[in-house]
């Protein structure tokens, strides 16, 4: 009796194939977009309209439903870009490089949201529109890292060169971003003792705030994934377009 064929194991590397990625993302995208829209609406409406005020912070506590998810995404998107850059540098999967490129502007947006909402949230507490709070300052530096990354992609013509250089930048930048976090904490320890926006992690967030927050976080994650799929598809198409144009020129 001959050996039965081995079952085909699904490897995530199959999605490194642009065609397979386009196929899968094609049917996945509307679902992710729809579900994340629902989560966002439910979470934000719940948080904005149906939660009480905080005894200390008044109605400004409602800002956590946008500030915390945006801040989490700002950092996680950079981590995703780091992973994607490593995969590109090591395994040369174009989809990975393009995914990192696609993710960056979403990260910029999330960082800006975190900065604006963080500053606005801090104003009633600190009496100033901007305070060099360690966390806010770290996000400002993260914004600069994102900006440099996007600018480098835009500045270089050759796509593979751009992918390589931005990949190396992401790597080195990640090390310095972590260093900066510690440096900024060190830099500000003497000034605003305990005045940072501590509601999100250190304090115990009451359940009544916590559940709508979870829904909002899910919504933001879903939004990121949807936008990432959309933008990566665009980048893959753009790459194909450039290749076709080059072929046409040579013919």
């Amino acid at each position: 009796m001959p050996n039965p064929p081995k079952p085909r194991t699904m490897s995530i590397w199959e999605y490194a194939n642009p065609k397979k990625f386009m196929q899968t993302s094609g049917w996945l995208l509307p679902w992710v977009a729809g579900l994340s829209a629902v989560a966002l609406v439910v979470g934000l409406v719940w948080g904005f309209f149906f939660t009480p005020d905080d005894y200390k912070q008044g109605s400004t506590v409602k800002i956590i439903y946008i500030h915390v998810p945006a801040a989490m995404m700002a950092i996680n998107i950079w981590v995703m870009m780091l992973a994607a850059s490593l995969i590109w540098l090591v395994r040369r999967h174009h989809v990975s490089a393009l995914a990192a490129k696609a993710a960056a502007p979403i990260g910029v947006t999330m960082t800006l949201i975190a900065l604006f909402t963080g500053a606005i949230w801090g104003e009633p507490m600190w009496g100033t529109w901007w305070a060099w709070d360690p966390r806010l300052t770290s996000f400002l530096i993260l914004f600069l890292f994102y900006l440099g990354y996007v600018a480098l992609w835009e500045a270089i013509d050759n796509p593979d060169t751009a992918a390589d250089l931005t990949g190396v930048l992401c790597l080195v930048g990640s090390v310095f971003a972590v260093l900066s976090r510690y440096a900024v904490n060190f830099w500000n320890q003497g000034l605003h003792q305990g005045a940072s926006l501590s509601l999100d992690k250190e304090e115990n967030v009451a359940d009544v705030f916590y559940f709508p927050l979870l829904v909002c976080i899910a919504g933001f994650v879903g939004l990121f994934v949807a936008l990432l799929l959309l933008r990566t598809r665009t980048e893959i198409r753009l790459r194909r377009l450039k290749a076709l144009e080059a072929r046409e020129r040579m013919a």
Binding site: L44, S59, I63
Partner: protein, 52 residues
């Protein structure tokens, strides 16, 4: 319907406002660029199919 935001109304509303504007911007931009590239690619593929 609107909860009483008290003295922090401006802060809360502007925070939500900025967020919605920025989210709309990234979604809108991504969508518009996707449509534009899809159209350009389709046009290019058509052109090359016709020319043989």
């Amino acid at each position: 319907m609107m909860p009483d935001l008290g003295k922090y109304a401006a802060a809360v509303l502007s925070a939500y406002g900025v967020t919605l504007v920025l989210l709309a911007a990234i979604v809108g931009l991504s969508w518009w660029r996707a449509a534009r590239v899809r159209r350009a690619l389709a046009a290019q593929e058509d052109r090359m199919a016709r020319d043989g």
